[in-house]
């Protein structure tokens, strides 16, 4: 038995592969769920369906999806041009820290000034954190994967250092910053915990979708990512596009951090280092590196995240199962989508296979 490249691919094959991957995910995670003493079907219902059945649950899903929109877009924009920014985690935290620095030093700014200043600070914080790996890649050809990865733990340490040191809450003594001035609070939507960060994320999704799908820049970005040497040959400045995308990617992740501290926490806490950046890789990949795909997957993972909290309270199923489910889904989907390019043929003797080079 061996894999042979398909010459033609039927239209139903890609969706069918995703379907198989979802089924496989349910099968693979049913074991651990049973091990934890829950019925798999009831658990899956909690994860996916239950959060969507109440208005409050829906709001929580939107709230959970908001940071993933930003980190998902950040990763998608970078991966699309072949710049493997795996540092969205650090850039997200750097954005949150930059916003906090501004909010703590200018606490009395009125809303009209505070909101844009806070968001811009976050974006710049993300850019600052993305700058070094992008610069090293552009100037010295140093692999961005390692440098962006290494800066993630550094950002977490910086966050903890600031919270244990200069930003420690003087009233409570806890390692949380003081609450921001009221001007920095992103307005809430529909009277729920959902905040204007979601709107900002949706606007970014729309803008990026249009740029990628309907502009010459979008075509060049795609060309640079899919076939760098061919793109370079036809005059696309691949290195320059990667450098700019890297910084835009950092800005998007940083905005996500700003949106999270200004919209949800209204202060900086250690709980912000919850893996939003790494999950961004999952969101971008499952979303096919497209803006609308990112939106859909961010909502799905937000749903699972809320469901996981719900299941941990109601079914005593540890909420970490949500992470297991998400990562298994990622691996099964990429595996299935990769396999669909091939078909399995029974191994035949070499002599009976004169047209092997044709591949199918």
């Amino acid at each position: 038995m061996r894999f042979v490249l398909r010459s033609r691919e039927p239209r139903w094959l890609a969706p069918a592969s995703v379907g198989v991957a979802v089924l496989l995910t349910l099968l693979l995670t049913a074991g651990p769920i049973r091990m934890a003493g829950s019925a798999p079907v009831a658990a899956f219902e909690r994860y996916v369906v239950t959060p969507l059945t109440t208005p409050n649950g829906l709001a929580e899903v939107l709230l959970a999806a908001t940071p993933l929109l930003f980190t998902g877009l950040a990763v998608a924009i970078a991966f699309r041009v072949g710049y493997y920014n795996i540092g969205a985690e650090g850039q997200f935290l750097a954005g949150a820290m930059a916003t906090t620095a501004v909010a703590l030093s200018l606490p009395d700014l009125p809303t009209v000034a505070a909101l844009p200043v806070g968001l811009v600070a976050g974006a710049l914080g993300g850019v600052a954190w993305a700058f070094l790996p992008a610069f090293l890649r552009r100037r010295a050809g140093i692999d961005e994967v390692v440098t962006t990865l290494l800066l993630n733990p550094v950002a977490v340490l910086l966050l903890q250092g600031l919270l244990n040191g200069p930003w420690r809450n003087p009233e409570t003594g806890f390692p949380d910053s003081e609450r921001f001035g009221s001007g920095y609070e992103l307005p809430s939507l529909f009277g729920t915990r959902v905040h204007a960060g979601l709107l900002l994320g949706l606007v970014l999704v729309a803008v990026i979708a249009v740029v990628l799908l309907a502009t010459p820049l979008g075509v060049r970005l795609r060309a640079a990512g899919q076939s760098p040497s061919a793109a370079e040959f036809s005059g696309v400045p691949v290195g320059l596009l990667q450098w700019r995308s890297a910084l835009v990617s950092g800005a998007l992740a940083g905005l996500g951090g700003a949106s999270q501290v200004m919209g949800v926490q209204h202060q900086l806490t250690g709980s912000l280092a919850a893996g939003y950046g790494y999950t961004g890789v999952v969101v971008a990949t499952l979303g096919g590196l497209s803006a609308l795909g990112v939106l859909a997957v961010a909502l799905l993972l937000g749903d699972v995240q809320v469901g996981a909290q719900n299941a941990s309270i109601r079914l005593q199923l540890p909420s970490q199962m949500g992470g297991v489910l998400t990562s298994v889904l990622l691996l099964t989907v990429v595996a299935a989508l990769s396999v669909r390019h091939y078909r399995l043929v029974r191994r035949t003797p070499r002599s009976a296979e004169p047209l092997r080079a044709g591949g199918g």
Binding site: F3, L5, P32, M35, A36, Y84, I86, L132, L136, A140, G141, I142, D143, V145, V146, T147, L149, L150, L151, N152, P153, V154, V156, L157, L158, Q160, G161, L162, N164, G165, Y278, T279, V281, V282, T285, P318, Q320, M321, G323, V324, T326, S327, V328, L330, L331, V334, A335, S338, V339, H341, Y342, R356, A357, G359
Partner: protein, 299 residues
Amino acid sequence: MDFPILAVLAATLTIATPLVFGGLGALLGERTGVLNLGIEGTLYAGAFVGFLVASRTDSLAIATLAAVVAGALAGALMALLTVTLGVNQHVAGIGTTLLLVAACDFTNRLLFGGGERTVTVKFDRLFSGGGILAQYPMTFVAFLLLAPAVWWVLRSTGAGLRLTAVGENPEAADTAGISVARTRWTALVVGGALMALGGSFLTLSVLGTFTLDIVSGRGWICIALVIFGRWKVWPVVLGALLFGFFDALQLQLAITSAFGSVPNELLIALPYLVVIAALAIRGRGVRYPGSYLTPYRRA
């Protein structure tokens, strides 16, 4: 006040040990052309499985063996995805890390959630009172057994040459009758086992317990060390010692009164920044293995 240089050097060797295991594990995969970003999760899984089995059996031998098996399975998962199915290596690696970390956290919560921290049996230092040589057994294994063995295998055996041939030019290796898939699978499985051994060092030798931040980026350090060492065994070991030295130095500085005002976390970040600086200097114009990041299919 005189500087306790011997203590720093002893700590250097201890800190470098898991990096030697992890770095050489990563090196094996990359020499065949596969970047294993599952390393962070594999170290984590090695640490957790070692701890879990030690807490259940009170046997360090069984715990170490279990960690090795877990690491080999993690390597096999990575091989299945990247070698057999041809998935993008970055995505497969990050996905494997996320899966392993989530699975360990889930199991940890299930078995050890609530209640006080479980402490297991752990290895004792050999030659205690022997200054720099007062180290855990695995440290001697890493420097005196593993590193020379990997060096010798890569340099002087058929298996090592096949490994390099597959990494440099899989088409030529295939034509010469070497199975590209089998070679990569072997390298990833053995490499995964080594990574997990390094992870188990953290629980079974150093701490005697498991914490959620036990690995905290050491896997990424290993990946950086392999580039820093340009895919050669001894430079990777040297890089591990360099990181170990700076990490030991910051630990020492943290308890030295002159640096009392510097936040601890910034000192902990120092070795990571040193690695980035080292990469910026030594990472220019490195030549990657010929088939790096590229899945192989017969035309």
